[in-house]
């Protein structure tokens, strides 16, 4: 099966600033991928590279098996929604749908109109007068209306109130359920990602720190709490991701692909949020170290 996104040593440099460094990814199809990381980590850059709005300065990237943005056929297969959902303020809601209809051979006008009705949007309303949540939904309708195989969403819900966020995600998931669309969704709201993502990429300071299926990742990571000890006294096969010590107690976040051996500790699993924070803390301590899952074959 063709990966939805394949990157080899992908890098992007703007003048002095390195936005992405040495990113290698292989994302299988049929997933909702969460791309998470602090602001300025490179999430937007990765998404723009994936839709062909940017050309990489080093390395390579292929999306759905082809070079991004290469021709109308490729453009038809990939939808994009930018941060803050820019729309044409003087064009009406219906005009935006017409835009989709005229610029896409595979446009599904019925779907788009149904969605607009579902959202209770007035088709003659100028898009500039819509609320933030309505704009995001309109932009999602325009992006999804051409029935793409892959949807790229750059912080789509960052500036929305909780209700609008929830509604947006519902409609997004409906599209996924309907069309088997793969999604790559960047956000710094981990709680939203936890609900919808089954594949996770953690991007910190331009590098991929963690990448893999959520189930596998959560199963492989454990937090163990024990009496104060050094990391190298832990059994072999446990990779220490993070170590914290008080004078009496040590807390380790470890990673192992085998089942956790029994030991003189209390072990618990980590939520996605904990995992992400762990890797973000680790990245702050070791800026150059990248870590990724390669066992993503389905």
């Amino acid at each position: 099966m063709t990966a939805i996104l394949e990157a080899h040593a992908l890098g992007m440099r703007y003048g002095r600033r390195q936005a992405l460094t040495d990113c290698t990814l292989n994302i299988p199809p049929g997933h909702v991928v969460g791309l998470v990381g602090p602001n300025g980590a490179g999430k937007s850059t990765l998404l723009k590279l994936a839709c062909g709005l940017l050309n990489p300065t080093s390395g390579s990237i292929r999306v759905l098996g082809n070079a991004p943005g290469s021709g109308p056929e490729q453009l038809a297969r990939v939808g994009f929604l930018a941060q803050d959902a820019p729309v044409y303020p003087h064009l009406s809601v219906a005009d935006h749908l017409r835009l989709g209809a005229h610029l896409n051979p595979r446009w599904d006008q019925d779907f788009a109109e149904r969605r607009v009705a579902q959202l209770d949007l007035d088709p003659t309303q100028k898009a500039g007068k819509l609320s933030g949540g309505q704009r995001a939904q309109l932009a999602l309708t325009v992006a999804a209306g051409k029935r793409p195989e892959l949807l790229l969403l750059d912080e789509p819900v960052a500036s929305l109130d909780p209700l609008a966020r929830r509604e947006f995600l519902k409609h997004l998931m409906e599209s996924v359920a309907d069309n088997d669309t793969s999604v790559i969704l960047s956000s710094h709201l981990i709680s939203d990602l936890e609900r919808v993502c089954d594949y996770l990429i953690v991007l910190v300071s331009s590098r991929v720190r963690l990448a893999g299926e959520v189930d596998q990742i959560t199963a492989a990571h454990h937090r163990i709490v024990c009496t104060r000890r050094e990391p190298d006294t832990l059994p072999a096969g446990l990779e220490v991701v993070l170590a914290e010590h008080t004078d009496r107690q040590s807390t380790f976040v470890v990673r192992t692909d085998a089942p956790l051996p029994a030991g003189d500790w209390a072990a618990e699993s980590l939520s996605m949020e904990d995992l992400v924070l762990t890797y973000m803390e680790t990245a702050a301590a070791n800026p150059r170290r990248a870590r990724q899952d390669s066992e993503v074959a389905r």
């Binding site: 929830r166 998931m173 359920a177 936890e194 919808v196 089954d198």
Partner: protein, 129 residues
């Protein structure tokens, strides 16, 4: 038609929460044999979760024999869970009570018992996977 809700703070994986909620509905009699579970799309439209999560939960329930999927139509309940089924496992319950008594007799605290149980439970679950 039952509705699902997701508790992100429960520490339980989303698909497991759905499985548990179906089981609970069966136990409480909210679902009976022949009832249709909401479609993946219906669930996803009410609760913003990944469709794969729902599919996984329904597959698990199918493996347990509680539901059956009819392609193109939907997923239907095939068997109910009543309180009676819990009483079927009386021998297991007695074994568990005896073990707990031995553990307390060995001087383990409540928390230690729980830790021991949880780690063993997880380890054996891993092995079976």
């Amino acid at each position: 038609m039952i509705e699902f809700h997701l508790d992100p703070r429960s520490g339980v994986a989303p698909y497991l929460q759905i499985v548990q909620q179906v089981r609970q509905a069966l136990l409480l009699g909210l679902l009976s044999e022949g009832d249709q579970l909401p479609t993946v799309k219906q669930v996803v439209a009410r609760v913003a979760i990944n469709p794969n999560t729902v599919l996984k939960a329904y597959r698990d329930l199918e493996r347990e024999g509680l539901v059956a999927a009819k392609p193109g139509v939907g997923t239907f309940v095939t068997r109910t869970l009543s309180q009676a089924s819990l009483t079927e496992h009386e021998p297991l319950r007695n074994d568990l009570a005896a073990w707990l008594k031995r553990a307390r007799g060995a001087g383990l605290t409540e928390a230690a018992i729980e830790a021991l149980f949880t780690s063993t439970f997880r380890a054996t679950a891993e092995e079976e996977r």
